[in-house]
């Protein structure tokens, strides 16, 4: 078949009349995206009696010479009829619901896909920006404690960590031995501490985590580490965390 714009096309006999679906966003062989239909053109000599129908309705040339009929660009399958021949084309909408996948894995437990990152196992972890000197993260529930393994191959003023719970405080990794001149209590989110009574577990790991949570808060309190955010709200919240930790400490003795 000659190109649509071939000058010799005008000399084609009627049986060489060919339809051309030009442009649009073609998704498959005869399927286009709704909103981006093709322009329907013909090559060959179209005589005065040449008739074109789309879905049984007469098609007329638009300003650009392409043929249109009412509803020709609606979603669904369409039948183009001309010179005792018929062709089919279809228009469909786009299904949304794109999945993320493990596109880039550098062995950190998290993956990059497009502009986002996610855990390799698909679990939802919380993201936090922390100073690289404050790698001990404390959550609202007694036992929510996470030590971030800092990378030593780069140095940054702020690091981004993924934590299995919503972190509330970032503390120095060993609060009781921290330098109180520089170490701070960094508030990451204003969540009230969960009631100590709600946390009852006989699991050994959970029990250890609970003890570490209590020890970290009591250690930071005994050391009298200053709050990075010295607002009254932050001070009051920290006092409530200390109170819960003290109560738990007494109960555990």
């Amino acid at each position: 078949m000659r190109e649509e714009r071939d000058i010799l096309n005008v000399l084609c006999p009627a049986h060489e009349i060919e339809p051309h679906f030009v442009g649009g966003i073609r998704l498959e062989r005869i399927t286009w995206l709704v909103g981006f239909p093709p322009r329907i053109r013909f090559t060959g000599e179209l005589g005065d009696n040449f008739r074109i129908m789309i879905d049984g309705k007469p098609a007329l040339p638009a300003i650009d010479g392409a043929f249109e009929a009412p509803g020709w660009d609606a979603e669904g399958e369409h039948r183009l009829w001309f010179a005792d021949r018929a062709e089919t084309y279809a228009l469909r909408t786009m299904d949304e619901g794109w999945e993320r996948w493990n596109a880039h894995n550098f062995g950190t437990g998290a993956m990059i896909c497009g502009a986002g990152i996610h855990r390799i196992d698909g679990t939802h972890w919380h993201q936090a920006r922390i100073p690289p000197t404050h790698l001990l993260l404390i959550g609202a529930r007694p036992g929510d404690i996470f030590r971030y393994q800092a990378r030593h191959d780069v140095h940054s003023e702020t690091i981004l960590v993924l934590v299995p719970f919503a972190p509330v405080w970032a503390l120095p990794i060993d609060p009781i031995h921290a330098d109180k001149r520089t170490a701070r209590l960094v508030l990451l989110g204003s969540r009230e501490p969960a009631s100590a009574a709600k946390r009852v577990s006989r699991d050994r790991n959970a029990d250890r985590a609970l003890r570490e949570w209590v020890a970290a808060i009591n250690g930071a309190g005994c050391k009298q580490l200053a709050l990075a955010d010295a607002s009254e709200d932050a001070k009051a919240l920290w006092r409530r965390y200390r109170a819960v930790a003290k109560r738990l400490w007494k109960r555990m003795r």
């Binding site: 966003i25 995206l33 949304e96 794109w98 493990n102 596109a103 998290a110 502009a115 993201q127 981004l160």
Partner: protein, 315 residues
């Protein structure tokens, strides 16, 4: 400028495909009549980057799609729609990345007026429309993401950088490689003084104690780092920055304009570049007078982190 938008719709509808299908779609969409913004040509002028490669690069940079990686080893796959957010002086800004349907685009442009969020649309050559949101807080952007039907990635540039390994030379345990056999390979060496590639020969490549060598044969490019007399096949950008470790003046950063610059011949690794581009949503521009790539609106912490991963100092 509508053609890259149509290409992103096509990618989003098809979801994944081969490299050949991508190239064919670029040709089909860009050769359509009535495109008054281009001459319809997809054949590059001499020295120009082919259009399909330029589009692929920009789609990757903006996190719209992944190419030749896990899950799409032989082609491409579109990433899920994501608002890539990062803090700015007046709140939080996000760039709409990933898959995009016409309906999703409309939702993004008509974010509920009750949400305190500004929407802006930027047009750049060979890039789908850059749709950005500015909101006072990340929680507002999360609301916007829900309305649009997208994920919300807080601190996106930092999140991406945090997962990337630095551009270090091969360690002792790294697997060594051999140069490809055959006389048809065109061989070039990266000159660390002029920061340019120059033609060399196999004998020099085999005897060099240190150097980065490019072997090219038709559509195949392979990169080998000679390091302490060993030969290691590596990604081009990683090998290049390992070779140029602490190279004076390579990375420039202007605190006032927040522009990070590097030589046009020293493209950073793809994902690191993605982190830089997500700071603004704007692909790098090329300054022909300095032959440098300019990345705009890069915050100082991101610039320093990127420089550290590239084993460079900012000047």
């Amino acid at each position: 400028m509508k053609k890259p938008n149509e290409l992103l719709f096509w990618l989003s509808a098809r979801r994944e495909g081969s490299w050949q299908q991508f190239r064919a779609a670029v040709e089909e969409i860009h050769s359509t009549e009535g495109d008054f913004e281009s001459d319809g040509s997809v054949t590059p002028e001499e020295g120009e980057f082919p259009l399909h490669q330029q589009l692929r690069l920009n789609l990757e940079r903006l996190g719209h799609a992944e190419f030749f990686t896990r899950g799409c080893e032989r082609g491409w796959r579109v990433a899920p729609p994501t608002l890539a957010a990062h803090p700015v002086s007046d709140g939080v800004r996000a760039v709409l990345c990933g898959a995009r349907s016409p309906a999703l685009r409309e939702r993004a442009l008509q974010v509920d007026k009750n949400v305190d969020c500004e929407v802006e649309v930027l047009e750049y050559h060979d890039v789908p429309q850059v749709i950005r949101f500015v909101a006072p807080s990340i929680s507002t952007l999360q609301q916007v993401a829900t309305q649009v039907g997208a994920h919300c990635q807080a601190d996106a540039p930092l999140a991406v950088l945090s997962l990337l390994p630095p551009c270090d030379p091969p360690s002792r345990g790294s697997e060594q490689a051999e140069f490809p056999v055959g006389a048809d390979w065109r061989i070039r060496e990266f000159d660390v003084v002029s920061i340019r590639w120059r033609i060399t020969d196999r004998q020099h490549a085999q005897t060099a104690r240190t150097g980065l060598f490019e072997f090219q044969h038709y559509d195949s490019w392979r990169y080998f780092l000679r390091w302490k007399s060993g030969t290691f096949e590596m990604p081009r950008a990683v090998a290049l920055y390992a070779l140029l470790c602490r190279h004076p003046g390579l990375l420039g950063y202007d605190n006032g304009t927040r522009i990070l610059s590097l030589p046009g011949s020293c493209h950073p690794p793809r994902l690191l570049e993605r982190a830089l581009v997500l700071c603004s949503g704007i692909p790098p521009s090329f300054d022909p007078t300095t032959a440098r790539l300019l990345y705009s609106d890069v915050p100082p912490d991101i610039a320093h982190f990127a420089a550290d991963l590239l084993r460079q100092r900012l000047t």
